[in-house]
């Protein structure tokens, strides 16, 4: 009798195992991809949508559809049946086992009676103690790696899972590391290549020609520099004096004075002003913008294309000032000593504050035009006190102020929404105001021969007589978005963010020449040595003749470039998205 039970039990067990495996599998499939959602169907249907009534195809779809529905419902039925079957068998098994074991009962083991309760207890104690210890250790482990905040951990994990994403990440890391190394080697190599050892470096002369603000002195988009190389090659180090990595990211452009090159960088953790040596490219010093009263604890929300350090610094040869999207303004001397710092109020700016600074003698000019409170600030560079400030109810703008010579006198020209306004640099009194702008004004004006040129993608391109403030001409053939205008007294150069570049006639406003380069431009053109230098976002360099606007040459540099280069005699400093390099013949 018992034998029978045993056999039944055995058989049922085998069946149970087989069945449960089968069920498990089909259940899994059901859960994963229901037959109704096979990709084939969708693709076929889409195919059918595109090519009009293809009988065969439609037939195919209909059959497949029928098939999949059958599969779905049949499977569903099977599952239900299977489950009941499983339960039934389990029941049988248990009953059989019970019957089989009915006669035999557990009997005391030899070591059981009389049980040594105490011994077991103490053993249990040991085990538990150990277990607790292990748990505690793991816990401690956690606490140790506590520095890594978990959410990031969690994100990383997920990112790692997304295949291509993971790869791309690695790639990035590699590339960045790679570039890091490359930079180092480069720096040293170049130094060797030039046989400039430290002694000589120190004897190297200070540079005559400076570039003290965004797009050169007075932010004028022209430079008196001579002898700039018209071809270079980063990988081949041709005409490259040095290349250095930049600690923190930023879209601002380099500024040159003496033998110092200034740029800023920022991330959520810190905002910093860097000073490089123009001859060797070594990072001489860093000034942090921290511990500033009124500075926000959490970073303002900024657009990725703007970042926290979009504004270019300005210098007057003695002090250098920088501003960040947090509204922090810092001022340092040429040795990297922080003179003063203040927060002029966190800009209420949906993309992030981007207007660059400008210096005129000891006056620092800040175009502080945001959603709430738009004003022009003039600070004393010695102590940061406000020299004068001009409130206006202009709308938000991202463009940068320039200093133009209007009617023979230097004046401040600010392009905002809706007006281009000229101010007296001394006291900020308004010289003239022309309402001609609209939308989101991102590019900056230019000036040549006493005429002010301003253009914005959402409005038009206008030329204004600097003396009288009357509008000379308007045009809207091609309009810049981020890139700014550059001007000679004959031509106005404009680079759009959709790849068209053109030269307007400065007198009439008609398009003299246009090139469709089909690559976006955020960097601004600069007129140097009878040429116009222009970088595309992808890092392709275009060099035009400043007189005819014919394309002289163009070549890839291989590094994304959004900043505008700075020129000094014989040298050009370029900031790419990850490094800073110096071009010299």
């Amino acid at each position: 009798m018992r034998k029978l039970y045993r056999n039944i039990a055995i058989v049922t067990t085998i069946f149970l195992l087989a069945l449960s495996v089968m069920l498990g599998v089909s259940y899994y499939q059901m859960q994963q991809v229901s037959p109704l959602e096979t990709g084939v169907m969708e693709t076929l249907k889409e195919l059918n949508d595109t090519n009009s009534d293809n009988e065969a195809l439609q037939q195919q779809i209909r059959e497949l559809d029928l098939l999949s529905r059958k599969a779905y419902f049949v499977k569903e039925g099977q599952l239900k049946m299977g489950f009941y079957l499983l339960l039934g068998m389990a029941l049988v098994l248990v009953v059989c086992l019970n019957l089989y074991y009915r006669e035999t009962k557990n009997l005391p083991e030899k070591d059981f009676d009389p049980i040594d309760d105490w011994m077991t207890k103490s053993r249990a104690r040991k085990y538990l103690g150990w277990a607790a210890a292990v748990v505690a250790l793991i816990g401690v482990g956690f606490v140790v790696v506590q520095q890594i905040d978990w959410s990031n951990m969690f994100n990383k994990e997920i990112l790692a899972e997304v295949q291509d994403e993971g790869e791309s990440l690695e790639v990035n890391n590699e590339s960045s590391e790679g570039s890091g190394e490359k930079v180092d080697t480069l720096a040293t190599d170049s130094v060797k290549g030039e046989e400039v050892d430290s002694a000589e470096v120190d004897d190297m002369p200070e540079l005559k020609i400076a570039s003290r603000a965004f797009r050169g002195n007075n932010s004028g988009a022209t430079s008196a520099a001579r002898g700039i190389a018209t071809s270079w090659n980063l990988s081949g180090k041709k005409n490259i004096l040095w290349q250095s990595s930049i600690p923190k990211h930023g879209y601002n452009s380099p500024v040159i004075t003496g033998r110092n090159v200034f740029i800023t960088g920022a991330d959520a953790k810190a905002r910093e002003l860097y000073c490089y040596d123009v001859w060797t490219g070594e990072l001489k010093w860093t000034v942090k913008a921290d511990g500033i009263a009124g500075s926000p604890s959490s970073m303002p929300k900024v657009n990725a294309d703007t970042g926290l350090a979009a504004s270019t610094v300005a210098t007057n040869g003695e002090e250098v000032c920088a501003i960040f999207a947090t509204g922090d303004v810092i001022c340092a001397d040429m040795e990297g000593k922080r003179l003063w710092a203040k927060n002029i109020g966190v800009p209420d700016n949906h993309y992030g504050y981007a207007s660059s600074l400008l210096m005129y003698g000891n006056t620092l000019i800040i175009q502080y035009q945001n959603n709430s409170n738009a004003q022009i600030l003039a600070l004393n560079t010695k102590n940061g006190n406000t020299a004068w400030s001009k409130k206006s109810n202009d709308k938000i703008a991202w463009s940068s102020p320039i200093i133009a010579t209007l009617g023979g006198k230097s004046a401040l020209v600010v392009m905002g929404n809706p007006a281009i306004t000229a101010y007296n640099l001394g006291n900020g009194s308004e010289l003239w105001r022309v309402e001609c702008m609209s939308g989101e004004v991102g590019s900056s004006p230019a000036s040549a021969g006493g005429v002010v040129f301003g253009a914005s993608e959402y409005a038009k391109c206008v030329a204004i007589d600097g003396a009288t403030g009357e509008t000379l001409w308007e045009a809207s053939d091609y309009l810049p978005e981020c890139s700014s205008l550059a001007a000679t007294k004959d031509l106005v150069f404009c680079a759009t963010s959709y790849g068209m570049v053109c030269a307007y006639d400065a007198k009439t406003g008609e398009v003299k020449k246009e090139h469709d380069l089909t690559t976006p431009f955020y960097s601004s053109p600069v007129v140097v040595d009878g040429k116009v230098y222009l970088f595309s976002n992808s890092g392709k360099v275009y060099i035009f003749s400043a007189s005819t606007f014919d394309l002289i040459t163009s070549f890839e540099t291989g590094e994304k470039t959004f900043a505008t280069p700075a020129f000094t005699d014989g040298m050009m400093i370029v900031r790419t998205d990850k490094s800073l390099y110096c071009v010299k013949k």
């Binding site: 439609q58 209909r62 559809d65 529905r69 569903e76």
Partner: protein, 190 residues
């Protein structure tokens, strides 16, 4: 070990035990009472139900119900329906000619059927036995039509889990508990 030895600890233990049991009992009763006050506070929300106006037809109702075939079904509010031949929930949006060939049908299980009422109107009905709650038709209807199709939890199939598995992954928090006598959130007027 003799009785004397054992006696005293025995008594002590008994004493301790009685005390602590009183404490425990007290605690249990007190907390029970407090919670009871809470419990009787307001009338009970019992069933899980979808708010059709929050629902975004993400399709998770089909996949995330604890049942192999979801308890979520598509309902049809006849009073909201336009009754038109060209139904955004019945046909795929890009049909060429309006026939019931597979390539034109929206519903993967053919749970939506319609019958002709009069030129040019059709009455649509849903076979809940076939419906999987995937919400394709609902999306079609809300985007193109008047939103007469909407997803509801079929209370007769729902297991009344202590915590609804769909609610936990619903991206628009459309699933809430509803009182016993308002088991459905329907769209049509009485």
């Amino acid at each position: 070990m003799s009785e004397e030895k054992l006696k005293s600890p025995m008594d002590r233990r008994n004493f301790l035990r009685t005390c602590s049991s009183f404490v425990a009992g007290g605690v249990a009763l007190a907390s029970g009472g407090l919670l009871a006050a809470k419990a009787s506070a307001k009338e009970g929300d019992v069933f899980w139900q979808i708010d059709p106006y929050k629902c975004t037809q993400c399709g998770r109702c089909e996949t995330d119900c604890v049942l192999t075939v979801s308890a979520v079904k598509c309902f049809h509010a006849n009073r909201v329906c336009g009754y038109c031949d060209l139904c955004g929930g019945y046909y795929r949006p890009n049909v060429k000619e309006l026939n019931t060939a597979a390539e034109n049908m929206m519903c993967p299980t053919g749970a939506i059927t319609r019958e002709f009422v009069e030129e040019p109107y059709f009455e649509y009905t849903i076979n809940e036995e076939l419906c999987t709650g995937c919400g394709k038709c609902v999306k079609g209807c809300t985007s193109f039509g008047n939103g007469s199709l909407f997803l509801q939890i079929d209370q007769d199939k729902c297991q009344q889990c202590n915590e609804c598995a769909i609610a936990k992954v619903c991206p628009s928090d459309a699933i809430q508990r509803v009182p016993n006598d308002h088991a459905y959130k329907l769209k049509d007027h009485a």
